[in-house]
């Protein structure tokens, strides 16, 4: 199987998995779920890292790679932390802080 075919299979199966994962979401969680899913889409960090590695000693490419890594990590770190901040506040009656 060529790399392309393999990648397309991965794309297909990944999409199907994503469609299945989110079923019935209680309204309470709409906002945190959106922000959590958003953090995960910062997975582009992987591409940024690969780009920096492939850049060799091409400074312009290194700069683009580092910029892209910065943007992606801003999405990831900010997204996960802010989601955690929201979810940490949900508590039942009588739960202690």
């Amino acid at each position: 199987m060529s790399l392309l075919t393999q990648s397309l299979w991965v794309l297909l199966l990944g999409s199907l998995l994503g469609l299945e994962l989110i079923g019935k979401v209680p309204p309470t969680l709409h906002t945190p779920l959106m922000s959590g899913a958003n953090a995960i889409s910062g997975i582009t960090v992987l591409a940024s890292l690969t780009l920096i590695q492939q850049a060799g000693d091409n400074t312009a490419l290194l700069v683009i790679g580092a910029l892209s890594l910065g943007f992606a990590l801003y999405n990831v770190i900010g997204g996960f932390l802010v989601t955690d901040r929201m979810l940490a506040m949900f508590r039942r009656k009588g739960d202690s802080r």
Binding site: S15, G18, L46
Partner: protein, 476 residues
């Protein structure tokens, strides 16, 4: 040695995908959500470690990795810590735009400085990645600016001409993408980038602020697609699977948001701003439209509360604006201490995005079981003594049920008109998002308490305290 390290990296990748999937799944249940978020973060960390083991960056690369990580990581940390909960919609939009920017930059970098075999697959992926990345970026930034109030919905964007402009931009993008393989680093690339950026703006700008959450959710799905495309560009299977997963899950989430807001995706994207079109059709919405308004003081309202056995609060956008969640919680506590049964009726779109009001009340320490969803609370209104509507308008408009000519007709609403007594706390008689009058305000059981939500709530608190409520625990 090399083989075992690669096998190790592959095992880490697999574990990362599994944890990521479990994380997304767990995020849709209240009890598991926080752990699931941490799990997804762990998965992301694992994926990064796995990749670093696989590619073994040289010292120069490490330096740039450190620089990029420090800048992005610290900025993310600072934003996440400092941002107020009321500003959540625009924060998610900003984060999302940055994710799109990252995919755009990767694709631009690969296209401009051909780092290896630029075969047709890579070029198609680059085109997709630039296109989706740029739309995600510019669209998210426009969404953020609108939510922040930096941008209005300009009137000219409501004309049908906008569809022509957007279609032209889309055609420009398509042509550039087709021309891209002939000249990977030349004019087509820049045209594609410019065209997609403008298209992102052109599509987002005409959409009204009330529909922004749907747009952000959709753009979030796009940024997953952009990540998957970037995965094809750099040849990373992990990126492809994770991007596809987020893209598809984002699509479902967008559908969930649309259902919650009683809007269809097509009408959100192409229908223009809700307020603008309703204003053009109905023409109502000025203060002069009301004739039978009863207004009352905080004292009268406090007396009604003191007598009540069952009270329901209906918090809305105005409550969030006035930052009055904590005062509301205090009032609820005082009434509970007095033996009153208190709950909160949460409309699916209360706040500024679906589920936002739940977050805001959670911040004020309201237990989430007291927040009743619309379907649960509507049958309860007939046996409710006092309803207090705080800064909500369209979501309590009975015309949505009774008046087929109303632009709101068919929208699910909280049936507060069934309650014995209704107090509406509002700054003025201004119209809501939909720009139409609210029949609730003129009903005989309704009284308006004019003022800022926080000031009114604090007024109620002091009135109740001066009546002696809360000093002695009354066994009702």
């Amino acid at each position: 040695m090399t083989f075992s390290m690669d096998a190790f990296a592959a095992a880490i990748d697999l574990a990362a995908v599994l944890l990521l999937a479990l994380g997304i799944k767990g995020l849709s249940k209240v009890s598991s959500a926080r752990g699931a978020n941490a799990l997804a973060a762990l998965a992301m960390g694992l994926a990064v470690v796995g990749l670093l083991i696989e590619i073994r960056p040289d010292p120069i690369a490490w330096l740039w990795i450190a620089a990029g990580s420090a800048a992005g990581g610290l900025a993310g940390l600072a934003t996440a810590r400092r941002v107020p909960m009321t500003a959540m919609p625009e924060t998610v939009a900003l984060f999302n735009g940055c994710g799109g920017m990252a995919s755009l930059l990767v694709a631009m970098g690969v296209a401009l400085f051909d780092t290896g075999e630029a075969d047709i697959v890579a070029l198609v992926s680059i085109a997709v990645s630039v296109f989706v990345g740029a739309i995600t970026f510019s669209g998210s930034i426009v969404a953020m600016a609108k939510l922040q109030g930096w941008l209005d919905t300009p009137g000219w964007t409501q004309s049908r001409l906008r569809h022509g402009v957007n279609i032209s931009l889309a055609v420009l993008c398509l042509v550039s993408a087709v021309l891209l393989p002939g000249d990977p680093s030349g004019l087509p690339l820049w045209l594609l980038m410019g065209g997609s950026t403008l298209l992102g703006i052109g599509v987002t700008l005409p959409i009204g602020g009330a529909d922004m959450p749907v747009v952000i959710s959709l753009l979030n799905s796009y940024s997953g697609v952009a990540a998957a495309a970037a995965g094809f560009v750099v040849g990373s299977q992990l990126l492809i699977v994770a991007g596809a997963m987020v893209g598809a899950a984002g699509l479902i989430l967008t559908q969930v948001m649309c259902t919650a807001m009683n809007r269809s995706l097509v009408s959100v994207l192409f229908g223009g701003a809700l307020g603008a079109s309703a204003g053009a059709v109905g023409g109502g919405g000025s203060e002069a439209g009301y004739t039978r308004i009863t207004s009352c003081s905080a004292e009268e309202c406090a007396m009604a509360l003191e007598q009540a056995e069952r009270v329901v609060f209906v918090p809305g956008y105005g409550l969030a604006v006035a930052q009055a969640q904590h005062s509301l919680r205090e009032l609820a506590k005082l009434l509970e201490g007095h033996g009153v049964e208190v709950s909160y009726a949460i409309h699916p779109v209360a706040g500024r995005m679906p589920g936002h009001m739940n977050v805001l009340l959670a911040e004020a320490d309201v237990p989430y079981e007291q927040l009743l969803e619309m379907d649960l609370v509507n049958p309860e209104f007939p046996r409710t003594d006092v309803v207090i509507v705080l800064g909500a308008n369209d979501v309590v408009n009975p015309q949505a049920k009774n008046d087929p000519t109303s632009p709101l007709y068919g929208m699910p609403v909280l049936e507060v008109d069934q309650a014995r007594q209704v107090f509406v706390v509002k700054r003025s008689l201004g119209a809501g998002y939909a720009g139409i009058n609210n029949a609730l305000f003129e009903m005989p059981q309704t009284a308006m308490v004019f003022g800022d939500a926080k000031a009114v709530l604090n007024g109620l608190l002091s009135e109740l305290r001066s009546m002696g409520v809360g000093k002695t625990k009354v066994a009702a």
